[in-house]
Symmetry: C2
Subunit: 394 residues, 2 copies
């Protein structure tokens, strides 16, 4: 056994045997007793070069490195296939939740057409704190105090981290390469005040949801703050947990939920992958590069979704009719609506039936320019795929 | 390809090639072109003999047969190991939900110490209908009308079907054989009237929950109607769906949810198992008999749980003190309590902090004999493992 480390002298909670720790990659690569390697260095380099060298030399590799898989997966899987060895990466997405194995092995006989995911624990922690009444600033500070969020939380709160994970999940689910550049993402750092409270009145909760959708051989992958039906399985994902719902023709929907990060959780997934490699001889064809076709990206406006619309308006007769007329003119219909007093005017909270984003945005640009609309409208997708709550006029 | 059928002349939705359908098992067994067999006959015989013969002859088998795995697993896994071939059985529990693969492969590096499962879709459908206001009789009739429940629903509503599934899950989770006879089960056909409504007031929902628990090298497996915290992932399991929560040291908790039955769902799991066998050469050690040790059963009274207690009492001063004193004398403490008028007296709904079942039952037998207690008390376990609702005096 060998372990490549930066500083062999660093104090550790265990005592490695003589010769185990090394700062020389060649000592790992060239040791004939090393049959499989786990890469937990993080970062794209030098991790990527090391993994590539190992795979090319016929050594199977397990990695927990999300950026490496997302950015250099194509190259690494090609090297693995050429050498006839496995590259496994369960720990790279959602910690110990076995979503990669479920997609690659358990759902091999179903056509997965949609993946919904709460795949960033930091933002989910912040949102559930805000659900409990905390301000965004306080919730973020608490996440930082607990070690869930970095000093610079941008990668999490901007949605970028979730986007990288959704790229990997979409790639596997659909068998077509999706990179970070293909993912349209928006974070949680600019939510309107009072959203969580208003959502509660509609039996909805605020979550940062990634969606990967395959319709007519076209793919859409995005990350958005979304309002999730209180009875939807993803609404039950609280605190720093992650949850992923897989929808497919033969399975309807399967949801996996659990801790999406953590040292022990990651170690559990890494060791499970090591065992999967050791416990199956040779290279099962299951573990070749998951990509076998090249699908078009769907134009953003084509994706249908129900939406949640929040408007600040003058509190005077006729405003509601104006708004409803603009929606209707674009073929967008209202499922539920509440109006509450707000300052000098009123807030309208509107749940819309499913419509293409383009239609809703078309209506919204007209609505935004109405003189009686006082502020830029807020629009969110609604997650209510199970249909357990019948939408109708409130 | 061969398919063993009862009646080759029966009308089918597809046209099998000549020679595929046969009524002669030997034609399947002796065909050298048959490399793997899927058993979807159901029943213990003749399925069991056929599977045994195939495994012994070196042919790997996939089965969807819950009773076969539960009753003859030991013998079948021994034959598979001797011949060096795989026996896979994902479809035997929870349809397409990959709980077997998750337990056997993904969680191989964690010690799973508890499995909580909603593993019977029929009863879950009935309970969620009752949550919506239906009577038990109406909900059962609806389940029968929709084909979720048999004309004789005993196997489902008694908890026996859930018990057989929990036996398989416990066997795999703990690596020690658990049979149906080891599972203590109770169904949903005698729930007290008004339970769902009262539970709602405490933010709890009624579910039929199987629990498999490993404490101090001892196992407890049972199936019970339980009150589940509205924010617990299992509370989000609605209608005919199944959900399983796996708790372990390295993973905290992972929940899998989805349709637990259905033709396409079962087929998806069977084909995935076939692919797993074909896609890995030889016998990975992951797929030997999961049993490697023999653990003691835990005495029923030892299992600690929070409980929910419903009492019908005289509405007069001192009754509450009498009840509280009996609980306290057995070391059982009250987390939340509500009292509502009920006929001539009052109903007490009490959420108890975690205590061994023996202590709670000891207190309860004294409480039941108090002159001011008007009816046999009702006691239910509470599932609130995530601790998202802080229990305290209401």
């Amino acid at each position: 056994m060998r372990a490549l480390v930066r500083d062999p002298a660093r104090e550790r909670t265990f005592s490695p045997a003589d010769g185990v720790l090394t700062t020389d990659f060649a000592a790992v690569r060239d040791d004939p007793a090393v049959e499989v390697v786990a890469e937990v260095m993080g970062g794209v380099e030098p991790a990527g070069s090391h993994v590539l060298e190992l795979l090319s030399a016929g050594t199977p590799v397990v990695t927990a490195n999300k950026q490496l898989v997302a950015q250099r997966g194509s190259e690494l899987f090609a090297a693995a296939a050429k050498a006839g060895v496995q590259l496994r990466f369960e720990a790279s997405v959602c910690g110990a939740i076995p979503v990669i194995k479920a997609l690659r092995e358990s759902l091999v006989a179903t056509n997965v057409h949609r993946v919904l995911g709460i795949v960033n624990g930091t933002t989910n922690f912040i949102l559930t704190e805000m659900e409990g009444g905390a301000s965004y600033a306080d919730a973020l500070a608490e996440a930082q105090r607990l070690g869930f969020a970095e000093a610079d939380p941008t990668d999490d709160v901007s949605g970028a981290d979730a986007a990288a994970k959704m790229a990997i999940l979409a790639t596997i689910a659909f068998g077509s390469r999706v990179t970070l550049a293909d993912v349209d993402f928006h974070g949680i750092d600019d939510l309107p005040a009072g959203l969580a409270d208003a959502a509660r009145g509609h039996e909805l909760v605020v979550r940062l949801v990634g969606t990967a959708t395959l319709i007519d051989e076209r793919v859409d992958v995005r990350v958005r703050p979304a309002l999730v039906d209180r009875r939807h399985p993803l609404a039950a994902v609280e605190g720093a947990f992650n949850g992923v719902m897989l929808q497919g023709d033969a399975i309807r929907e399967i949801t996996l939920e659990g801790p999406g990060a953590g040292g022990m959780e990651t170690a559990s997934a890494v060791v499970a992958d090591l065992v999967s490699i050791i416990g199956t001889t040779g290279t099962g064809f299951l573990h070749n590069d998951p990509c076998w076709r090249s699908l078009e990206r769907m134009p953003a406006g084509d994706l249908p979704s129900p939406f949640y619309l929040q408007l600040e308006v003058d509190d005077r007769p006729g405003v509601l009719a104006e708004v409803a007329q603009r929606l209707s003119a674009h073929g967008v219909s209202v499922a539920r609506l509440t109006q509450v007093p707000s300052g000098a005017g009123a807030s309208l909270h509107i749940v819309l039936h499913e419509a293409p984003q383009r239609a809703v945005e078309g209506a919204l640009s007209e609505i935004a320019s109405l003189p009686s609309v006082l502020a830029e409208p807020s629009l969110f997708p609604v997650i209510s795929d199970r249909g357990v709550v019948e939408l109708g006029w409130a």
